[in-house]
Point group: C2
Chain length 465, copies 2
């Protein structure tokens, strides 16, 4: 094992993880500090950098024609900007006291230590793969990395059968259901929860359930997978639950991810209840002035509940990277937290949420009023006006907005942004009723659906006492 | 002249004007107070109630098939809810000291006084019609009322020629340009300003200019109309400017509206610099505890500039009506003001603004930094991603958001709502950079265009010092 190091007058920033958070941090730090002031070394165990994992379902489904369209910045581009990027190199240990990391070249197997003055941990997430028979059988796929996407595409192309089962009905599950429909498969979604999209309350999830069935997707809710059955050729042939077998020529596992923090745990760094790294508002790992962490390996503060949660999303990872890069470069920036916004779609159904669900509110000790309104994306008389359902939670008595969920067609999803900003500003639903939102018949009814919900919530808070 | 009155134990609420603000107020008051507690009399000089004037261009253009689709609530529906609605009855005087209004039956010519305990003035707006030769010639149309729309439609149907000239390039002008294209006309827009959409800064208006030309519309900017020329048959045949004559088989005047406040002025009620009624936050006419005013006849406070402005928009009128009806019914509600949000479209071009333009900021005594970014409606690799330009103004040194303007295609316009909420919450552009907006590739780039602008503005404020 060799030791690289020797700093001279130059500081060294080491980045672990070459995707959104890590490479954003590296790029941002590079823009503020020149190579003779700050050396930047980035380790990535895979072969790609800075790609949109969120785009994989659309590449698999064919909406995005080529894998490389998902790559925001190639290794060569990073290197041209003065970042010493080492691909297929896995960091296997962090020596916090010694300010160094140990890394293994995955091709040669060689290991070496690299010292750092400043460290960024952006190790991302790993998919949850249940420990059950058949989980590794050919024909069973995850969609976490570009490599996973390519393997799935290869299977879809080679498989003669047309029956696909998606395990899990969260964002990845519904997006993969759409992708597989687009590829001409018959799709069954097997879901442990009562309704799809557990990120919504069940009453809103039921709308997604009905809409997905309307799209020809077979929904199997309240059903836990007990095993993946294989045929004589060793390939997956069915997904087994307690009650049934669902024949499958291909299986996509979409049951979520966990923070990839084994390295951080071994190094004694602080982890939260969800297994993610804990940071301060400047994204510094708690108790460590020269170590930052961001992206899918950290927990974030939910500004509405006041509690930490795990929200692996590319948009947060990019923001973390900017904040980390600014601070590691000697500037100042913070990431105050999230309000829990997410949007997704399955075919033409748009699904959005922000803030707290009913159970989140209860868990946070908040009492609330809940209202649901039916509205439309445009003035009712304007062509293309499509229905949407908006659910809104407001704190009892104070009327503070707590959360919004929207299920509808075109024009529904991004309306959640209004509520996301209102949550950040801690507005009451009554304050929201006078928000000056854009109105013209092709864009909105005269009362925007979110405002219509705010009006109803205001009335309920008033009479709720 | 007769005198109706005699109140007994019942209060009487008189409403002048039967459209959005007036009938919203009447309906809201009716929901909180029963007919034996509060008698409600509403006067409307036209023959319709509660219709969407904003929808007229889409009816004229054919996107909305029937006039009656624009009517939210008919006279009969209002009467069935216990509102004494008197159509084709024009209020000709307000006796504030005597608490009564004089009204004329437009069919019989009979006049009578009606006493009130509470009065709502919702007289709306009147279109600006320049005092020039030919302004009343056949073939010259406004689009303020349903009657105007019907007259224009009749002309479009009867006219054999296919040349239309729109005078004015504000919201009505661009929407009518689209309507006339949809009806198969060759459209010329004659505009006094340097660029269309004077509600935008000229650099953003220029984008609208180019896009309208791309749609086949002939744009004549910086050109004041000097007269409307008529043929031997008395019909309009051309629009004359200082430099040119623009042949026209039909002319649509879309040069804006003014508050209809002649009645209020005669009654000695307080008017502002723009000719609109001045109210307090409960929408009571200043100095008058039992008179409210709302909709297109009032001025409103701009929360960003701190100055009053005139913003005739149906969405405000509806909000005013709710606030007035709540208060007139004995409850409590306020309308805090506007931030100046507006969206419009011409064919597939979407145009939006909120807050202050550069000249508004200067007029308000604010120093600012301005940035412009190019972005897309969806992730760049996702099908249908369309370009948009976002301009953002931030206050110098404090970084407070002052305004946003957006010009783009599908998915551009309603993004302005995020900025509208941020303006209401008096956020800085730096605070905006961490807003938790909905992200998924079909909905947004990983940095939403508004956040991308906020990042650039933050950097400029920092370095601007």
């Amino acid at each position: 094992m060799s030791m690289s190091g020797g700093r001279g007058g130059t500081e060294r920033l080491v980045v672990i993880g070459g995707d959104a958070a890590g490479m954003s941090a590296a790029s941002r730090a590079r823009r503020t500090r020149k190579p003779d002031e700050l050396e930047i070394v980035a380790f990535e165990r895979g072969g790609f950098t800075s790609y949109s994992a969120c785009g994989i379902p659309y590449w698999v489904g064919g909406a995005v024609a080529e894998r490389d369209r998902l790559i925001a910045r190639t290794p060569e581009e990073h290197r041209a900007r003065g970042i010493d990027l080492r691909l297929r190199t896995e960091v296997t240990g962090i020596d916090v006291a010694g300010q160094r990391v140990r890394a293994r070249d995955l091709d040669s197997g060689a290991e070496s230590w690299t010292s750092y003055d400043k460290l960024v941990i952006a190790t991302g997430a790993r998919p949850i793969r249940p420990d059950m028979p058949g989980a590794d059988a050919p024909g069973v796929h995850g969609v976490q990395t570009l490599g996973d996407g390519q393997a799935l595409l290869d299977t879809l192309t080679r498989t003669r059968g047309r029956r696909a089962v998606v395990v899990g009905a969260g964002y990845i599950g519904v997006e993969m259901a759409e992708a597989l429909i687009d590829r001409g498969f018959e799709v069954t979604v097997v879901n442990r929860g009562e309704e799809p999209m557990a990120t919504l309350d069940p009453d809103m999830g039921r709308l997604v359930h009905r809409a997905m069935e309307g799209l020809g997707i077979t929904m199997v809710n309240g059903s836990e997978v007990t095993g993946l059955l294989t045929g004589a050729d060793g390939r997956v042939r069915a997904v087994a639950t307690r009650d049934a077998e669902h024949p499958a020529d291909v299986v996509v596992m979409g049951i979520g991810v966990r923070p990839e923090t084994a390295l951080a745990r071994s190094a004694g760094l602080p982890l939260g209840a969800h297994g993610g790294l804990l940071t301060d508002l400047a994204m510094r790992v708690r108790g460590h002035a020269n170590i930052w962490a961001g992206g899918d390996c950290v927990e974030v503060l939910n500004l509405v509940s006041g509690q930490h949660q795990y929200v692996p999303l590319g948009t947060h990872a990019n923001k973390h990277g900017q904040v980390i890069g600014t601070n590691a470069g000697g500037g100042y920036a913070t990431f105050p937290g999230v309000v829990g916004t997410a949007v997704s779609k399955v075919c033409d159904l748009e699904i959005a949420r922000t803030g707290l669900r009913e159970k989140d509110a209860r868990r946070a000790g908040l009492q609330y009023e809940s209202v649901t309104v039916e509205s439309t994306s445009r003035a009712g008389y304007y062509p293309g006006a499509s229905p949407m359902t908006v659910k809104m939670l407001a704190e009892r008595r104070t009327g503070r907005l707590l959360g919004v969920q929207i299920v509808g067609r075109e024009g529904a999803g991004k309306r959640v942004d209004v509520a996301a900003v209102a949550l950040t500003a801690r507005m009451t639903v009554e304050q929201m009723t006078s928000l000056d939102l854009g109105y013209a018949p092709p864009f909105s009814p005269v009362w925007d659906p979110v405002l219509a919900a705010a009006r109803k919530a205001t009335a309920k808070v008033r009479t709720g006492a």
